[in-house]
Symmetry: C2
Subunit: 337 residues, 2 copies
């Protein structure tokens, strides 16, 4: 049965990869096509997508070096969506259910019911892609479950106003830490300090980051939530306090290049007796509800915020993604479909 016999969602408009970017992607690397969906099979649901999440890891998928898979030329771009069940041949889902799935950059999709999840007790559907979704879970898993922050810890966060970074920072503040952000514009410095409550924030484009860290963290850095890799990981590793924790989560600094960068000298980590964790958020999917339950109240009370950078229409996705890769977004990038 369909939710509305006049609107059967037989077609989907898709964004595909038209060519491989050498460095930063631009709109011309993508194409938009409309195709007809196949008939629904038993155990499947048809989902009308309402929001699509755009994330830095997608650049690694394009480059063929992401753990979650690679995008083929002319293939559909992968991505998580929230949406509404508009046709069902599954006993697990009813028409109108609010769900999330890896629906990709398109307006509708057919999914096996085992790959579809109710968004549950999340009040605002887009939150299932942002503060209470994958970026939030990434932040929570790395900071709370891996790094285990203690009151008084000095926490340094690059990309500090991005979807993951901003959540790390707010959770660290909620746990009594001193939080130092690193960002790429004065506008982001202002947002980090005045909206997210950071203790300090460094503009890496106008300040000497190492000098600023020396001044702001005279007793060393207890937790570094690495979202960028590159030179900054070296600079921070040389300034770790004894017993520091480093969360290796992303490498924006090398995401848009074809080369892999070397890491810091192990000697710096030995000296700090650091514990360094490789973080892949998918490993924590079984604990997603635990994270949502821990954070939903903070979100509803506006104590854990995530700015959503929303563009409208599936055709806006390539431009929005290109802005994200150039660091021109402000908060979690979402496409409203």
């Amino acid at each position: 049965m369909t939710i509305d016999s006049n609107i059967s969602y037989q077609q989907t408009t898709q964004v595909t990869l038209a060519s491989y970017p050498d460095t930063y992607p631009s709109e011309e690397n993508f194409a938009v096509n409309t195709v007809t969906l196949p008939a629904l099979q038993d155990g499947e649901v048809k989902i009308k997508h309402t929001f699509l999440s755009l994330d830095p890891y997608m650049r690694s998928q394009i480059a063929g070096r992401h753990v979650s898979g690679s995008i083929e030329l002319n293939g559909l771009m992968f991505g998580e969506v929230v949406g509404e069940v508009v046709e069902t041949k599954s006993a697990k889902f009813n028409l109108g259910d609010q769900v999330r799935c890896m629906g990709g950059w398109q307006t509708a999709s057919i999914q096996k019911d085992s790959a579809v999840f109710a968004i549950g007790n999340i009040e605002q559907p887009s939150h299932a892609l942002s503060v209470l979704g994958m970026p939030g879970l990434t932040a929570y898993a790395g900071l709370i479950w891996q790094a285990q922050p203690q009151a008084g810890d000095v926490v340094v966060i690059p990309a500090a106003t991005g979807a993951v970074g901003a959540t790390v920072g707010q959770l660290a503040k909620a746990n009594g830490c001193t939080v130092i952000g690193i960002v790429g514009s004065d506008e982001k410095v202002d947002y980090a300090i005045n909206q997210l409550g950071y203790d300090a924030c460094i503009n890496r484009k106008t300040q000497d980051v190492e000098q600023a860290l020396d001044k702001l963290c005279p007793e060393g850095i207890n937790i570094y939530f690495d979202l960028v890799g590159g030179d900054l990981l070296h600079s921070v590793s040389a300034r770790l306090a004894i017993g520091a924790r480093v969360i290796l989560c992303g490498m924006i600094a090398e995401t848009n290049s074809k080369e892999r960068m070397a890491g810091p000298s192990p000697g710096m980590w030995i000296k700090a007796r650091a514990i360094v964790y490789g973080l892949v958020v998918y490993d924590f999917e079984p604990r997603r509800q635990e994270f949502i339950d821990a954070c939903a109240e903070l979100v509803n009370a506006n104590k854990l915020i995530m700015k959503e950078d929303v563009s409208v229409g599936i055709a806006s996705a390539p431009a929005a993604f290109s802005r994200l890769m150039r660091g021109e977004n402000m908060g979690k990038v979402i496409v409203k479909i």
Copy 2:
């Protein structure tokens, strides 16, 4: 009071640093002198040294980049010794007590009683410097307390017949792991397999280590106990299994150079969801007895062995240390005084 009025140990023969080696140390970098010990003060003991431990970390002390301190030009070489109390102004120690302390490369020393420790339930005194001493504690802390081996784990160990490596390997075997050693001679390969019970051992001077690891570890490496740093750390990091643990403990590969080497790309550790631990054995001193109690029975039953590479006389220390730095030792290097 003294233990024997005819032998008052008023003098000590010392080895000092005569010049800084550029790369590998040799005997000419050291000098031997005899000096008079001062009078014993309240709270002090005089110790006649019987065994001196020589260890790779001393090269880093010479280079001025070890957490435990630096050796000054013409300064006494640091080092742990076992010995016997021959004069005491401390209520904590009696004449004849078998003790250990950081006595340095010399034949006797005066120590504050707070810096002296009874060797306790260790039957053979030299064991307090070897299998039940700092090298053993290093191996136990890194493997058992940090890496937490599970039966079936594939454990790779460079410098696999050295004091630390050989203990890691035997403890890993005792915990049901598959153990792969990497060494620098066929003699050491033979020792690793036939004496230490390793499952396999690679001669890095005659074999292609990466090819050998691919063949020996088709499902990846679960634990890497890094004692060498350098290129091998890159090669192993590219071959880690999901959930791998890497213990960063030593950097022999760069110990004898003035430059620091870069580490592996963080992306390899993210991909493996690795947990990487910086290990400094001093942090585990409070748990030394726990380690001794756990291992003494294995040692007494000859199930945990450590070959001791013993030279005789304090004046033999420079040559013995130089051999250690060139990898020409076989087992734990100890000077019998």
